[in-house]
Assembly symmetry: C2
Homo-oligomer: 699 residues x 2
């Protein structure tokens, strides 16, 4: 156990800061650091270190950190990499609490740099000194006016304090996101660039922000988690604390590119696992960093959505902007609200019946869009049981600023989010200024407002999940039979499934044609023959599967036609039929734990990639929610007069599989049930093929 | 034939403009119109009309249009609707060439307004006077400094002349788009708000812009086409003139909402028809108006993509911004380029081998991102055979403006589009200013740059199509047999398909069980029975289809089990098998002509909505391109070791169906071949079900 000299809150809010390599020249890193500290009003002790100057920016300069006559909470180092180790050693010797190392070309630049980084960490660890970075851009602490950074975003006149706490593995991206936030009038508590995370890492600061009274919303830019197992528990703790967490995770596109042996490994890769863990723990995963910061601002400064799944109202004075906004909703997974009669009645007071619909064009108001009418319509929207939020895509119009200024109070009264979009550019600046003055967020692009709403929707769904009881084991689910390590045969994989109550096709392993015919007669025709070999993963690709054999002669003919490869036997199975094919899968993701997957099965499985992944074990409601998110869902629910399928049976099979994953834990490399045939309501489901791989050791 | 007093170029570029209701008060519409004309330097004769003032803005005012002693090319009317007719009558009497009517509450506000609009049009027509509007925002003619509008976007200091011509059915949206364009440094030729299109309509101005030397790119906001038949020929004329056309079409989301009788009508609705016509004619359809204007600017001021289907380079100094940009590509249908060895060799000169990959982080440069290195990498990208364009998502970094200023010349030299994104907000303004000064476009959001690239990709694909020869009729395609009006029976629909060489299942219509058994024996078991009735569209929903009947007994049993409803007979058919199910469809869209559709067939057809629509007739290459755009394509091409399917047979069937659509023209209400079973290569395709509806008359 390392005894640290300083706690995280002192790293973020130091009473004293030494700037190694301080300079009067703002063209230099050390010059910018001290400039920004002064410019943004750092209230603590500021200690420039420079062996060649007596004063810097009017402050007494010290020749080295060892000569500073007072305690130093934080030293900021933006020194050439060749000098870094010596400087860190000096800081350690001088009793510095923590070093923020802006210097790069350490572990980010190959093996030599990594070795140096290790050495730096060793020195710090030995002394109980904390490190932020290296290769980071430092810390912006807006709450306490401590800008411990050389980032050019600090050229901004003022960095507004507020509720958004950010941790980022990219310093430049963090600077950009703060700049975008400031444009929109967003306020930040602390923004921490963690760089190479030699010592302090993203999860440490996430942990800190959860308890930080100044932070109301947390935004994370993640490239890779140092210790994935810390992440989900922290997300759950943040949710319990009422603090939404948003994140962008780099590497989404690479995830799909890896060739993978099983469907489940390819479809539930590490990005899918990350996504599943975020959903389960109530965190909001965004694609676009710029959307993340705007969504964080909306969560900080606007009311939250009452609950997930509600519709939207779209209202503006331009028919063109309302219609094109409405057209963009489906691509964002959003919909217009179904207005209640009371809402319609209110709208009728202001406009002809023919215009009483969403999206609402206020240009149709009988009185020419009076403030009274606009306010009355907004109020009725925000009392409507199916309208969760209002989007206002304002185009150029008279009195934009005055009109915009109505919305903060309407939003406050209504208690639902109002996404105000100033779609014009500079000509809309007066409206933007009015909203900044009212401390009310605005967006510049309709597409952003919809992406933000999607994030709010995810936050809301995550909140709804927090109240659920823990999953319960269904009767007869387990225990697992004894299993060999390595790839299981189909029969072994099916017996594992059966031990948890997942229905599988009846089958008998036969070693010759006579035994196969006897087995077929016992099972009942038609049957399927499957050549079984531990060496073969995709049987049908090798001609090892013979379907729909109607009589003994057909069984004999099929047996004879099996390809001449070494087989462990021939499985004779009932020929099951169903109305739809699902794939169910399970695997263990290191750091994230057991996962289950469900998707459209059969030949389309890797084409459509219509899958949902979730951490195991599942509640029945979780399993049903996964099925409902599939593109295939309408088929399960009974599309176009076709029978509704036995969703309850699919839910049950998925829940039971999730307990296999939960019980086997890291022993389960992966398991596929593909396809599972689903029949009409009451007809149940049955897995017709199964495969699984088990870790050889019992670890 | 109406004799017009004035040609369109005079409406857009009038020598003299009368402002009805002119005022010194810029709070009034008429005050703003004259203010903006003066402010933006209108060089022609400016004639204020106001009975109560001797001068306005220092110009002599006239009490009425009839008292103006000189010819008036254009009068602008922003008068109360109650006075409109009288003012238009006065203009007609005074010999005015055209009226731009800003006044609203005409056809946009119900039947009474529509009647007044008709009366206004009648007056204008009788006099040969043209109308723009009513309910429009007028015309911005940047090329000739004639701002004939009251739009508040004209508050901008300067409206930059340039190559973008715009026509919009929403005035407010047009103002907003001009504002967005000006922010990005885009220049416009003419922007025309057409309002209710009483007389002059969108296609008139599209026609004008195609011949307009000042216009290089055309952007359209369309709510509904007055005469759809004009549209596609104009798009083709624009392409021939080398002028890309971009459009946003309102009503996309509503299109899918209409309940429809056949799959084809529901899947190939009017929005899909519009989309198909745009693709065929090389126009670019955008979802987001703000993306449209930025894409238009890119087409105006950047080199075009060399050809469709190339990859991208992403390069910036922040690993975070390059990685998140790369992650966003797949969702936009884009991909990174595969760098050629020559490109890799150039990159190796500047950075360690481990960093030689796309996206490229210039933070990894050995020399700290020198301008030389950046320029060399950019040049090698733009010479790479697989890199069509470069995206530069700049975050906060030192010397942003100087760095940004490198790109215009690099882009000019390289001859490929460079999408420069300034991802920071105000702190990036110096970089924006540098690019405006260099007349080079920039974007503010990575998501915008990718949406713009998608539009550039569509423009490029449209250009590639222009060189194709006209479709040729395949041998044996037609003529059509005599057809009754109304819904055809399956047998009639199949004989129509067969007359064009589309393979259909063999079948015999039987009236009793004995005849069915005899037919089955002639066809060969197993067979299918289908109860046939002109009154039934979806046979399987009523239990009228009995599959896989293996012998005579099964045929008799199935015949007896048919539901007791009046039937035209029972079709006995071969039981066809295939590896995949397609739907093929055809219909006639008024104004757009014959269309064909292909998609994933069977039970998933309306769930997945995996369909492609195109105008008929098709070339084989068109048909194959449609198949390649399906989500199902990997199944057709042979996914995961499964056999490649007979794509040539699917192409042939689709081409032949397209000639049915082309030959029947408006007589064909709709035709579905669903499913068509596709077998492995060489196995062909066969339509197992068919339905069609024919217009009763021969019109």
């Amino acid at each position: 156990m390392i005894e640290h000299r300083i706690c995280l809150s002192r790293v973020v809010n130091p009473r004293s800061v030494a700037v190694i390599g301080a300079s009067d020249d703002v063209g230099k890193f050390g010059g910018r650091v001290i400039h920004y500290l002064i410019k943004h009003g750092y209230p603590g002790r500021l200690l420039p270190i420079n062996p060649n100057r007596a004063t810097i920016r009017g402050l007494p300069a010290y020749p080295g950190i060892g000569t500073v006559p007072e305690p130093v909470d934080v030293a900021i180092l933006a020194v050439p990499v060749a000098h870094l180790l010596r400087q860190v050693e000096d800081c350690a010797a001088a009793g510095v609490g923590a070093c923020i190392i802006i210097t790069g070309k350490l572990a980010d630049a190959g093996a030599e740099g990594a070795a140096l980084q290790d050495r730096v960490l060793e020195v710090a660890r030995a002394a109980g000194m904390r490190l932020v970075g290296p290769n980071c851009l430092g810390i912006f602490n807006m709450t306490d006016a401590a800008m411990l950074s050389s980032s050019l975003v600090l050229e901004a006149e003022r960095v507004k304090p507020g509720g958004i706490g950010m941790v980022s593995q990219s310093g430049a991206l963090m600077g950009t996101l703060v700049s975008v936030g400031l444009h929109h009038g967003a306020g930040f508590s602390r923004c921490i660039s963690v760089g190479n995370q030699a010592d302090l890492e993203l999860c440490d600061f996430l942990d800190f922000l959860i308890d930080d009274p100044a932070t109301r919303v947390i935004a994370l830019y993640i490239e890779g988690l140092k210790d994935p197992a810390r992440f989900a528990p922290l997300l759950r703790r943040a949710r319990a604390a009422g603090k939404p967490v948003l994140c962008v995770k780099a590497g989404r596109s690479a995830a799909g590119a890896q060739a993978a042996r099983s469907h489940t490994a390819s479809l539930a890769g590490s990005f899918a696992a990350f996504e599943a863990v975020c959903r389960e723990a109530g965190a909001v995963l965004c694609d676009d960093p710029a959307v993340m910061v705007q969504a964080a601002d909306a969560l900080d400064r606007l009311p939250r959505l009452p609950r997930a799944g509600m519709g939207l109202a779209v209202i503006a004075s331009s028919g063109g902007s309302t219609v094109t906004t409405a057209d963009m909703l489906p691509a964002h997974g959003l919909r217009l609200g179904e207005m209640a009669e009371a809402t319609r009645a209110e709208l009728r007071r202001w406009m002809p019946e023919s215009h009483v619909h969403l999206p609402l064009d206020t240009g149709s108001f009988d009185d020419g869009t009076s403030e009274d009418g606009l306010s009355a319509c907004m109020r009725s929207f925000m009392a409507d049981p199916d309208i969760g939020a209002v989007v206002v895509p304002m185009t150029t119009q008279p009195a934009m600023a005055a009109r915009a200024a109505l919305f903060p109070e309407l939003c406050r009264q209504g208690g639902r989010p109002v996404l105000f979009v100033m779609t014009a550019a500079e000509v809309g600046d007066a409206a933007r200024q009015a909203l900044r003055a009212a401390d009310f967020p605005f967006l510049d692009r309709v597409a952003d407002s919809l992406a933000v709403l999607r994030a709010l929707e995810a936050e809301s769904a995550g909140r709804d999940r927090a109240a659920l009881p823990p999953p319960e084991r269904p009767p007869g689910a387990g225990p697992a039979p004894a299993l060999p390590g390595g790839a299981l045969t189909e029969a072994e994989a099916k017996s594992l499934a059966a031990a948890y109550g997942v229905p599988v096709t009846r089958g008998v392993l036969a070693q010759d044609a006579d035994a196969a015919v006897a087995a077929a007669e016992a099972i009942g025709f038609p049957v399927v023959l499957k050549g079984v070999s531990r060496a073969v993963v995709h049987k049908s690709d090798l001609g090892l599967v013979k379907l729909n054999l109607a009589d003994a002669a057909a069984v004999r003919a099929a047996f004879a036609a099996l390809p001449d490869i070494p087989l462990d036997g021939v499985l004779v199975q009932e020929m099951a039929r169903g109305e739809a094919e699902l794939i169910l899968g399970a695997r263990h993701e290191p750091g994230f734990g057991p996962l289950v997957l469900v998707g459209t099965g059969g030949v389309l499985v890797e084409v459509l990639r219509d899958v949902q992944v979730a951490p195991a074990p599942l509640r029945p409601a979780d399993a049903e929610a996964m099925l409902r998110r599939l593109a295939l869902w309408p088929v399960l629910a009974g599309v176009r007069g076709r029978p509704a399928l036995d969703v309850a049976a699919a839910v049950d099979a998925l829940v039971r599989l999730s307990w296999i994953a939960a019980d086997l834990g890291p022993r389960l490399v992966e398991m596929d049930l593909n396809p599972i045939l689903l029949r009409a309501v009451g007809g149940g489901a049955v897995a017709v093929d199964a495969r699984a791989t088990i870790h050889g050791d019992d670890a």
